[in-house]
Structure formats: structure tokens, C-alpha cells
């Protein structure tokens, strides 16, 4: 499959509008301007596109809900807050192919009759901020954004809103609070953002990669699009691969590409001839898998059948020398730091889990600690506003499920599991 999302990114001038146009860019927007909004939504629904941020919600459904709300104005917000550890898939779009995203948002704006769009960009990507600001200015100049896109009467304005270092703002209601100038804490649902989101108005929050798929759907149509990859959740998918592989990076592959192919063919296999020990397939919050699960197709419907989730498609690979207790501990420090503090089970529980893991890692673990880790985890899961707490719980439960011996070994003082990981 030829690259679509990452098309042309080797060209050092790929972020320039002239280069993007010369490769067929903004043609889908021109086509969309002659389509009826409801037909556009129908096309996206029929395409089978599912949200690429991690939850995999059908994009067409979300759009229908928002379009069905009679309140105006409506806001289209691009979630560019990718903060799930291991995830860097949106970065090449933001930095190297910004016009694909802008085109996707302008098309989506017309479909949703949303006249205002924001790109909520994580504060950790200052270069992307400059690139996007420049690209948006170019798009205004060329008439692809503004009060009347290419004289069509379709209005769409777009601005970048910079986050300030809070993982939780990747959660859509926290993101909306942050956009409104508030602390980035999640809101209770319902009401859902599609009915009452940013500035109390219907708001559609879609991931960078999701919105970047829209021009392709408009270009080739829902039928051909739905035949790319797994028909249950089709399309091209970006996988960010890191850890102990020979060629870490972002790979664009059809949805449903097996984990084994991603790691061994595209990412070049395990470094230094070592053996694979474990892999986190979809970002730190998704369940870790042992090597015997490598044939799992990486898509939203297959991964749960193999004991994990697609998440953001962020594959983190651990070789046989990795101390997985240390990995779990580092992951928990992350969750403790990023818990927004709103829900007690998450705020307190992540700290307790970190403390228990710390003493196990430091050789002061107690035999009852394994049970305690499980108890605390299960008392966080499902008891919080947003999925951050579930993520923290998932990490512990699944590392214990597959690698309990390593935790027990640490507690017994058997460090044959422990290896040089810095």
C-alpha cells in the first residue's frame, strides 16, 4: 500500500502549501465543496473510519450525533495532544504534512457545518506550533480557510491552541476545559461534547490521524476506502514503534497488520540479536503482551480477542534484558504524575501503586505486595471519571498476569530476572 498519511514526507519542503498542492493536495476539499454536508457524513459513516486517538469510536456516528444537534455554532476540535507514552504517530503529520490535516479539517467543517476549528496541540511540540501557524496562514492566503472557502460560501476558521504539559488533556472533555482556559480536568458525561462541548456548544473532537483520513475518503469514496485493511475497521493506520528494535519509527500500514510483521519486517526486528521479552502494542495504557501473541492483527476489533487493545498503535518493544518491574514502576510514576487529582481512587491509588512498585524494585518488597498491587488496581478500575485510572490499573494487572514470576523474583531477592536497563 502506498503511503497516504505520510505521503511525500521525505521531501524537505513537504510542509509547504505549493508542494502539497503539486501532489494533488486540496483537491478533495474542492470536491467536497460541491457535496451536500449530509452526503459527506454519510460517506464517512459508510467508510467505516474509526477514531485513531485510541478509543476507536466510529467517526461517522460521532459526526451524526453532532450534526443532529440543532445548536449553533458548532466547533471542530482536532486533538493533537498525543501524550500516551510511546506515541509519536501524529508528529510527522503535524510537522511534515500539516496541510493534509488542514484540508481534512476544512472538509470536516463543511460536513459538520462547524465554522470554527481548533487544533489543540501539546505544549511539548513547539516546532509543530510554528509549522502549523505558518501552514494555516498559507491556507488562508490561498482561500482554503476563511469566510468563504474558494468563494463557495462555506466558512471555516482555524487556529492552534497550545496545551501546557498535561497528559489528561488528551481526554476530550479535559481538552475542552483546557481550550476554554480552565484546569484540564475531565467533565462527567453526559452531556457529551457533541451536544454540549466547547463554550457550551456542540463540539466534535477528532484525532489528528482521524481528520487526516478524511481527504482520502472524499477522494476515493467510502467503497474503496473500506477495503483497505480489516473491513471491520478499515483504512491506513500509523504505528509508532520504539524500544529495542533496529528501526524505530512511524510506519503507515493497513489496519490489521500483524504485530509480528510490524516488529520484524518494518521495524527491523530486535536489536543486537536479542530475543523479544514483551511488547506493549498500543501505548503504555494498553495491556502488555508476551511473545506468543505476536500474530495478533493490529486493529480495534482483533486486539481485544488477543488480550490487548490497539490504543494509539504505539508499539513499545522490550528485549530479554529488560527489567519489567522497572518498566512497570516507570509507567506508574507517569500515571501518578499525570493523574489530574479529581477522582480519589486514581489520585491516591496511583501513588500507592508507585510506592509498592518502588519498594519491590528496591529489594524491599514483601510477599503480600503482589496481592496488594492487584487489590489497589482493581479498586481504581471503573471507579473514575475518565480512563486514566483504568490505564494505570491495566498496566499493573497485565504485567502481573504475564510476568508475575519476575515480580516474585524481585521480592525473593532473586535478581536473575533483573538486567542492565540503565
Amino acid at each position: 500500500m502506498a503511503n497516504y498519511l505520510l505521503k511525500n514526507i521525505e521531501d524537505p519542503r513537504s510542509a509547504e502549501i505549493s508542494v502539497y498542492e503539486s501532489k494533488g493536495g486540496y483537491k478533495s476539499l474542492k470536491k467536497a465543496l460541491s457535496m451536500e454536508p449530509k452526503d459527506m457524513i454519510d460517506e464517512v459513516k459508510k467508510s467505516g473510519l474509526r477514531g485513531r486517538g485510541g478509543a476507536g469510536f466510529p467517526t461517522g456516528m460521532k459526526w451524526l450525533f453532532a450534526a443532529g444537534d440543532p445548536k449553533f455554532p458548532k466547533y471542530l476540535v482536532c486533538n493533537a495532544d498525543e501524550g500516551e507514552p510511546g506515541t509519536f504517530k501524529d508528529r510527522p503529520i503535524l510537522e511534515k504534512n500539516p496541510h493534509l490535516l488542514i484540508e481534512g479539517m476544512a472538509i470536516s467543517g463543511r460536513a459538520l457545518q462547524a465554522e470554527y476549528g481548533y487544533i489543540y496541540l501539546r505544549g511539548e511540540y513547539p516546532e509543530a506550533k510554528n509549522i502549523l501557524d505558518k501552514a494555516i496562514a498559507q491556507a488562508y492566503e490561498k482561500g482554503y480557510l476563511g469566510d468563504s472557502i474558494l468563494g463557495s460560501g462555506t466558512r471555516f476558521h482555524l487556529a492552534v491552541h497550545q496545551g501546557a504539559g498535561a497528559y489528561i488533556c488528551g481526554e476530550e472533555t479535559a481538552l475542552i476545559n483546557s481550550l476554554e482556559g480552565r484546569r484540564g480536568q475531565p467533565r462527567i458525561k453526559p452531556p457529551f461534547p457533541v451536544n454540549k462541548g466547547a463554550f457550551q456548544k456542540p463540539t466534535i473532537v477528532n484525532n489528528v490521524e482521524t481528520l487526516s483520513n478524511i481527504p482520502l475518503i472524499i477522494e476515493i469514496g467510502a467503497g474503496p476506502y473500506s477495503k483497505i485493511g480489516n473491513p471491520e475497521c478499515p483504512g491506513p493506520k500509523l504505528f509508532s514503534v520504539s524500544g529495542h528494535v533496529n528501526k524505530p519509527g512511524v510506519y503507515e500500514l493497513p489496519m490489521g497488520t500483524p504485530l509480528r510483521e510490524i516488529i520484524y519486517e518494518h521495524a527491523g526486528g530486535i536489536r543486537n540479536g536479542k530475543k523479544l521479552k514483551a511488547v506493549i502494542p498500543g501505548g503504555i495504557s494498553t495491556p502488555v503482551l508476551p511473545p506468543d501473541k505476536l500474530d495478533a492483527p493490529m486493529d480495534f476489533t482483533s486486539m481485544p480477542k488477543h488480550g490487548s487493545m490497539l490504543g494509539s498503535g504505539a508499539v513499545i518493544v522490550f528485549d530479554e534484558t529488560t527489567c519489567l518491574v522497572k518498566v512497570t514502576l516507570r509507567a506508574m510514576k507517569f500515571f501518578e504524575h499525570e493523574s489530574c487529582g479529581k477522582c480519589t481512587p486514581c489520585r491516591e491509588g496511583t501513588g500507592w501503586l508507585r510506592a509498592i512498585l518502588e519498594r519491590i524494585e528496591n529489594g524491599q518488597g514483601r510477599p503480600e505486595d503482589i496481592q496488594l498491587l492487584e487489590d489497589v488496581s482493581l479498586n481504581i478500575a471503573g471507579k473514575t471519571f475518565c480512563p486514566l485510572g483504568d490505564g494505570a490499573s491495566t498496566v499493573v494487572i497485565n504485567f502481573l498476569k504475564h510476568f508475575k514470576g519476575e515480580f516474585e523474583g524481585h521480592i525473593k531477592g532473586d535478581y536473575s530476572y533483573k538486567a542492565a536497563t540503565g
Partner: protein
């Protein structure tokens, strides 16, 4: 104090982008931080006054986000990622080296005021780990061999 004229102009230029004045708060905090180096109590008060927001709201918002600095920073801010993918390639060792060379601990500033160090939670550079931001500059592919050469450029 009141906000510097340049900062006010920058904030006002953004007003057209948002339907509410409150939404200007995050960008205003960035602008104030850029102008004064950090968000002192006076700077927060000035932002509150300019946006006509209660001071506790402004402070409460600023302190929620890791990238707003409510204590003085060194001349250069090192934001080093030690999350899992960076940890696998020795990020924690780099923290130790920084401690040793510059006497700077995570969350703190070196005695000579040259560097502040903040540990980051994934900066999306896992394929080029470990990585850091120094001020607004991105430096991936760090190692014990190259980190001091990079930091040498920041006085």
C-alpha cells in the same frame, strides 16, 4: 505591576480567535512566561487583571499545567524525557550526569543559575530516545557522549 505593552498586544491579537475571554488564559500565561521568564505572583496578578479574571482562578489554572513555571527558572530550561522508551536507552543515567556536572536536580536549578531541569513525561520522540527540549529546541538521540556538547551551546 501591569503587563508589558508588548505582552498585551500579543494577547489582544488572539482575542479574535476565541468566543470567550477566559479562553485567552492559557495563551496569556505563555506570553507572560515568555516575557518575564517565569510566572511570578505579580505576573499572575497582572494576567488576572488584564483578563478580568479572579486571581485564584488564574493561579489555579497556571499551577495545574507542568509547563507553566511558578517559580524562578535558570537561564536555560532542560526538559528531559525519562519515560519508558527513553528509560530503555539510559535517560536516567543522563539525569545522574546532569546532577554531577551542573549540580542540578529534577525540579531545581543549578547554583550558577545556568540550567533548570524538568523531567518530562514523553515528548513524542520515542524513536530517537532519549530526547530533551532545551528551551524551545528539540534534541533527540542523546547519549552520555553527546549531551554535554549540546548543552555547551547554552550559556
Amino acid at each position: 505591576m501591569t503587563l508589558a505593552q508588548g505582552a498585551i498586544a500579543e494577547i489582544e491579537a488572539l482575542r479574535i480567535k476565541y468566543p470567550s475571554g477566559r479562553a485567552l488564559l492559557l495563551p496569556s500565561l505563555y506570553i507572560a512566561q515568555k516575557t518575564y521568564g517565569w510566572l511570578s505572583p505579580e505576573a499572575l496578578r497582572a494576567v488576572a487583571r488584564h483578563l478580568n479574571l479572579p486571581e485564584p482562578i488564574v493561579k489555579g489554572t497556571a499551577t495545574f499545567y507542568a509547563m507553566y513555571k511558578t517559580k524562578p527558572m535558570g537561564r536555560n530550561l532542560i526538559q528531559l524525557c525519562t519515560n519508558v522508551s527513553c528509560m530503555l536507552f539510559g535517560a536516567e543515567k543522563l539525569v545522574d550526569l546532569l546532577k554531577e556536572r551542573y549540580k542540578v536536580t529534577p525540579g531545581g536549578t543549578s547554583p550558577d543559575g545556568r540550567f533548570s531541569l524538568v523531567i518530562m513525561e514523553c515528548i513524542g520522540a520515542c524513536d530517537r530516545a532519549p530526547a530533551m527540549l532545551v528551551n524551545a529546541d528539540f534534541h533527540p538521540g542523546l547519549s552520555e557522549g553527546n549531551i554535554f556538547g549540546i548543552l555547551e551551546e547554552y550559556k
